[in-house]
């Protein structure tokens, strides 16, 4: 009897670990996504002296209706981008309350984040539109300053969020090209956006609803020992050029792993 409790505690540890490892095996037994990305999209994270682990962090742009890198810092967008009220409803948010209702803003502000799936497009139309706009802005700034601009937008991530939904299979049917579209788990938020008229400097009512990707899950991907050693031994990044490519695989539970790493 004395050992029963001890055996139960030890059994719990072993059972929990077995459950985790069986889950990992099942996830990795079926590859649902495979994509090759560079250091632009997967930034290296070294732990420092107290942490010898190595991971890479997925960098993506969530433009939505707002451009977080806009040089002006202010968005005057008058409507949601792709992550609009219809997409929010797809994800599971209740968007039935009309925005003209005075209590709607309070209701929407109370809305909590939900789990969802997000489509990340690699080097596609969203990136091309963004790079064209950004290069035009840089060219204008350089002309005004009569100096070359130090920022090269082509060295930034080429992963752009373009769609979201509650069912990854439906999303994959919509975006079948695995080399270009990555489907990932994410935490998304509903934002009740106020509209601002820059001409009159007044708020335009009613506002609108838009979605916001709070976090990709997992946003950091662990790099196992042999590849980690390769990443640690890389020379410092020269003028922003990517130093490695990583082949990322996603399994049946949409949990990723690094399947290969190659210096560039």
């Amino acid at each position: 009897m004395r050992y029963a409790a001890l055996a139960a505690a030890a059994g719990l540890v072993i059972a929990a670990d077995a459950f985790v490892l069986i889950g990992v095996t099942r996830n990795r037994s079926a590859v649902v996504d495979q994509i090759e990305l560079t250091e632009r999209e997967l930034q290296l994270r070294l732990g420092g002296d107290e942490n010898s682990g190595v991971s890479v962090r997925i960098g993506f742009m969530d433009l939505g209706n707002d451009d977080p890198l806009s040089f002006t810092g202010v968005s005057n967008a008058q409507e949601a981008g792709w992550f609009n009220a219809a997409k929010l409803a797809d994800v599971g948010f209740d968007v039935r309350a009309p925005l003209t209702d005075p209590s709607a803003e309070i209701k929407y502000r109370r809305t909590l984040p939900r789990d969802a799936f997000v489509v990340l497009e690699y080097g596609g139309a969203a990136w091309e539109a963004w790079i064209t706009r950004r290069e035009a802005e840089i060219a204008k700034l350089s002309t005004e300053a009569k100096l070359p601009h130090p920022y090269d937008p082509r060295l930034s991530t080429r992963l752009f969020s373009i769609d979201a939904g509650g069912d990854p299979v439906t999303l994959r049917r919509r975006y079948p090209d695995q080399a270009k579209y990555l489907i990932v788990k994410a935490v998304v938020r509903l934002v009740h956006q106020r509209r601002w008229d820059p001409k009159t400097s007044r708020e335009i009512k009613p506002g609108y609803l838009r979605g916001y990707i709070q976090e990709i899950i997992p946003s950091e991907i662990h790099v196992p020992a042999p590849d980690a050693a390769g990443l640690k031994s890389l020379k410092p990044r020269a003028v922003g050029a990517p130093r490695y490519t990583v082949t990322l695989r996603y399994g049946s539970r949409y949990e990723p792993w690094v399947s290969a790493m190659r210096p560039m």
């Binding site: 929990a16 670990d17 682990g53 599971g92 909590l112 789990d115 997992p218």
Partner: protein, 352 residues
């Protein structure tokens, strides 16, 4: 001597022996009771024998200096446990990048199992359980590290289900060795699991477990009531304390931030509802603590009432009252409460 089965009961028996000795000396000093030398010697022998037996069987503190040292040992045990937990975490993070995945997994599985064995070994060698308690804390921390790092290594989506596994592990250790720290950790894990589950049932991410404080009220009430249904004397105060806190803290928060509530009312209405609830449950908790002699409920109820009152006074009066008037009013109310408590205390003494 009455049947004594636990160390806590034995310690209480020691206190009773000391109280009896003090009372006997007083009676003899006041010449109310005079024992013959023979009777006195027999009483002393009996009491000494009782203390000796208790000390041998349960390793209890029979002198004041022993009690002081034990208190110090408890503090050292808690601090030592904390330091060892941090050491285990830091050590693993220091080396995990240098070893392969199978070695990482082996270390993660072996450490909590090794710590369990060490806890059992210590518990067998030392009845006071200072070392066992310390090692049990490290065993639990190792298990937390185990699942957390396995999740990191294999990029697994974090799940609230880990709380139920950690909670069960902590409760097994708590009941097996009679450890209150483990019980506290276990109950807090179960509270977190329950709240996170409610959030996931609504389609929300489990990390929002703290965003709806009302989730904690049902389980908090159940934990508070458990000792009334199935009493384990050394654990009852922990159940009541965690249960009371799981009710008091949400009520306090909702009285200030009504937008966090499920209630379909305007924020101001929700806040007023919970302020009313706070005004009712705080005195009820104090009354319950006094009448049932549950010191932890009395103290938590009084602390909750004080914090709640101060938060309300600040909300109501801080902006429009001159500051000296504000503090004068708070001081006057404190005096009023002291008078009330004094009367309550006198009444409790008269009815005892």
């Amino acid at each position: 001597m009455q049947q004594i089965s636990s160390r806590q009961d034995a310690q209480r028996q020691v206190e009773r022996v000391h109280d009896f000795r003090k009372c006997l000396s007083e009676l003899e000093k006041e010449k109310i009771l005079t024992l013959s030398a023979e009777d006195r010697r027999r009483v002393d022998d009996y009491l000494d024998h009782t203390l000796d037996q208790l000390s041998k069987r349960f390793d209890v503190d029979v002198t004041e200096s022993q009690r002081q040292i034990s208190l110090g040992m408890r503090v050292i045990s808690a601090l030592g446990g904390l330091a060892l937990c941090i050491a285990v975490f830091l050590f693993f993070y220091r080396i995990w990048g240098l070893v392969t995945t199978p070695v990482q997994v082996s270390i993660l599985v072996a450490v909590p199992l090794g710590m369990l064995a060490a806890t059992e070994f210590a518990a067998r060698r030392e009845r006071t359980l200072y070392f066992a308690s310390l090692l049990a804390v490290v065993a639990l921390a190792s298990f937390v590290l185990n699942l957390t790092v396995l999740g990191t290594i294999f990029n697994i989506t974090a799940s609230h289900r880990a709380f139920v596994v950690w909670g069960a592990f902590a409760l097994i250790l708590a009941y097996h060795y009679g450890l209150r720290i483990q019980l506290t950790a276990g109950l807090l894990s179960l509270l977190a699991f329950f709240s996170a589950s409610v959030m996931t049932w609504q389609g929300c991410n489990w990390l929002t477990l703290g965003e709806r404080p009302e989730n904690f009220l049902p389980l908090g009430s159940i934990l508070f009531a458990i000792p009334a249904v199935r009493s384990v004397p050394e654990f009852d105060p922990v159940y009541r304390s965690i249960g009371a806190l799981a009710v008091f803290i949400p009520v306090l928060i909702l009285g200030m931030q009504g937008e966090l509530s499920y209630l379909p009312f305007a924020t101001g209405t929700v806040e007023r509802v919970y302020q009313f609830v706070a005004f009712v449950i705080a005195p009820v908790a104090i009354w319950f603590g006094i009448t049932r002699r549950h010191r932890e409920v009395l103290n938590l109820g009084a602390a909750f009432f004080a914090i709640f009152l101060i938060s309300r006074f600040v909300a109501w009066w801080w902006d429009w009252m001159p500051k000296y008037v504000f503090f004068f009013v708070v001081g006057a109310i404190a005096l009023g409460l002291l008078v009330s408590f004094r009367k309550l205390r006198a009444r409790a003494g008269a009815s005892a």
